[in-house]
């Protein structure tokens, strides 16, 4: 009996010690000094550009502190779902396949159609959250093994058997590959049987990579011929790998993938979060994204020089030539597909 009592008392004390700071916070603050904005985002080059174009200016302007929590989208998504009642994160960068679901489950704010943030972005891009950058799933290939920029169907040619690498699943690369495979069989992603049957023909998979450098090292060593990869990073990294090329296939076209900027619902610092979003989606940052990382801008006002524009998805026309998956449907299949991927593609 005593045991139960003490357990309850401790739980209550714990809860109180957490709730206290929240109650003491001022309801409204003009000055953001002492505030900390928490942003969940990928590490590496994206982090570098955000620090330079967004974090620095925002901290200087508002006096607030900005913390970037680096990691994959899975980490962030788990966190904002777990903390639904009590968020600690203000902004989460998610993938296109996660954002609509997060909106539906009420963990992120719906994009506001009246805000300048919304209207400056190409029409029809803000699914779930604000569209941040446009990239396409194409094929990275080893120029020594593959003579000309490959089409999707080339990955299934017998001479490349056992030399195809794929990214770890769940992820947009895998979903994109399933969508493409289904179309090569005359179906689409709604026919999972067709998609998985086709992808399974790629077995044995040479490498399941979690890391671009690892995949490139294997290509340089001649052990991987092709790997479906998302443009952007890859194009930027190719400068160091003269023997690796990147192809945007035509039949079907590259799969459109978007990075989304999500404002977490009921976040501690909504005003600061908006300011962060304005800078992140602004012309300066998106231009740098395009020029340095080959991430296509979503902001209508970004004007890119010809040389950059060629490698980057930056117009609505280009977008319409890309393959668009039914992402809201795909996410509902995530659990089943993960298991099928483990079973059918990785062969467990």
């Amino acid at each position: 009996m005593r045991d139960t009592l003490s357990r309850r008392a401790i739980a209550a004390a714990l809860a109180a010690s957490i709730a206290l700071p929240a109650m003491m916070a001022p309801a409204f603050a003009q000055d953001f000094k002492g505030k900390t904005l928490v942003v969940g985002v990928w590490g590496g080059d994206i982090e570098r550009l955000l620090r330079q174009n967004v974090v620095g200016p925002l901290e200087a302007e508002t006096g607030a502190k900005v913390e970037l929590v680096l990691g994959g989208t899975g980490d962030r998504l788990a966190r904002i779902y777990a903390e639904k009642a009590n968020p600690t994160m203000d902004i989460a960068f998610l993938n296109i396949y996660e954002a609509p679901q997060a909106l539906k489950d009420g963990v992120v704010e719906a994009p506001d159609p009246k805000s300048p943030l919304y209207t400056e972005i190409w029409d029809g891009m803000n699914n779930g959250c604000y569209a941040m950058s446009l990239v396409g799933l194409g094929i990275a290939y080893n120029k020594k093994l593959v003579s000309s920029p490959p089409e999707w169907a080339d990955m299934w040619k017998p001479e490349y058997k056992g030399k195809i690498a794929v990214a770890s699943y769940p992820g947009s690369e895998g979903d994109g590959l399933l969508g493409v495979a289904a179309r090569l069989s005359g179906k689409d992603e709604h026919d999972a049987d067709a998609a998985f049957a086709k992808v399974s023909e790629l077995k044995p998979i040479a490498l399941t990579y979690t890391n671009l450098d690892e995949a490139f090292a294997m290509m340089d060593a001649g052990e991987v011929a092709m790997a479906p990869m998302i443009s952007g990073y890859v194009l930027a990294a190719l400068k160091q790998h003269p023997d690796i090329g990147f192809s945007f296939p035509k039949n079907p076209g590259p799969v459109l993938v978007r990075d989304m900027l999500c404002l977490v619902k009921n976040s501690p610092n909504p005003e600061l979060a908006k300011k962060f979003a304005e800078l992140a989606l602004g012309v300066k940052n998106q231009t740098d994204y395009a020029e340095q990382l080959y991430f296509g801008p979503t902001n209508k006002n970004v004007k890119l020089p010809e040389s950059v524009s060629a490698d980057v998805i930056d117009t609505p026309e280009e977008v319409s030539s890309l393959l668009q998956l039914d992402w809201p449907y795909v996410i509902t299949q995530r659990s089943d597909w993960t298991q099928r991927w483990n079973k059918d593609v990785l062969g467990q």
Binding site: A11, G71, A85, T88
Partner: protein
């Protein structure tokens, strides 16, 4: 000089190979941290300290290491105070339910932590504790308590209770007995417990990667997320190699001065 029998020679060779295997990943990690290319290849084409320089310059890793250290320190304090008190009671007193209590205290050693962390994440979310320092410290304290309990039980078992009885019979109050007799004799065990708690907490990834909050991303959590997303930043190899070197040193010093292994 005794001649080496073939059996003995075989045993020595076997042991040498076993140790090579045991330490190989650690040695390779250290070697890889000196390869200046972004992805380690053996044999390395050149060696350099570039990642170590990067480690010193990086604010992100400094804050992750600081977070790890703060959490480990706080969890370690909770672990050695609660754990050694409990160990003392387990060794010196007889009471009903002793076996059960011992089992509860040692449970984190055998129960699956990954599974527990999944549940803890959900409970913390309900309590509004997810991502807080308190939540992390309590979780880390729980996984280190079993080590303290085991180490301190074996420490107290070695301390002759008749010493305490003698002091008490000479009229020393219990607190003085504890301070003057028990504490000095228990110091090696306490230091060993502290070292184990600190190291286990500092290096934990399973629990922290699920419940670590925005503000308290520890170094292993950061490393684990790199492994699953953008890839391992070679700077983390340099930091990892340094951590391993410190652990090697600590283990050798601890074994020679405090006989760490005897307590486990």
């Amino acid at each position: 000089m005794k001649r080496l029998s073939p059996g003995r020679a075989l045993q020595l060779l076997w042991t040498a190979l076993a140790y090579l295997f045991l330490l190989a990943p650690i040695l390779v990690l250290i070697l890889a941290s000196f390869d200046p290319s972004k992805f380690f290849r053996f044999p390395p084409r050149s060696l350099s300290l570039v990642w170590y320089e990067g480690a010193l310059a990086s604010g992100e890793y400094r804050s992750a290491l600081t977070a790890s250290a703060i959490i480990a320190l706080l969890a370690g304090i909770i672990s050695i105070t609660t754990g050694s008190l409990a160990a003392f009671a387990l060794v010196r007193f007889d009471f009903p339910g002793k076996r059960l209590i011992e089992a509860v205290l040692l449970a984190p050693l055998v129960l699956p932590l990954i599974v527990w962390a999944i549940a803890l994440l959900q409970i913390y979310a309900v309590l509004g504790m997810s991502g807080t320092l308190l939540g992390l410290v309590l979780a880390h304290a729980v996984i280190t308590v079993p080590y303290t309990v085991r180490i301190m039980v074996s420490t107290f078992e070695r301390i002759d209770p008749s010493l305490e009885a003698a002091a008490s019979s000479l009229g020393a109050p219990p607190l003085a007995v504890a301070r003057r007799i028990v504490l000095p004799l228990a110091i090696p065990g306490l230091v060993t417990s502290a070292a184990f708690s600190l190291l286990i907490s500092f290096n934990d990834v399973i629990v922290s990667s699920l419940i670590a909050g925005a503000r308290w991303i520890t170094f292993p959590v950061r490393l684990f997320s790199q492994l699953r997303s953008e890839g391992v930043d070679p700077i983390t190899l340099a930091i990892g190699a340094t951590i391993i070197a410190v652990i090697l040193l600590a283990a050798i010093i601890g074994e020679y001065t405090l006989k760490w292994s005897r307590h486990l």
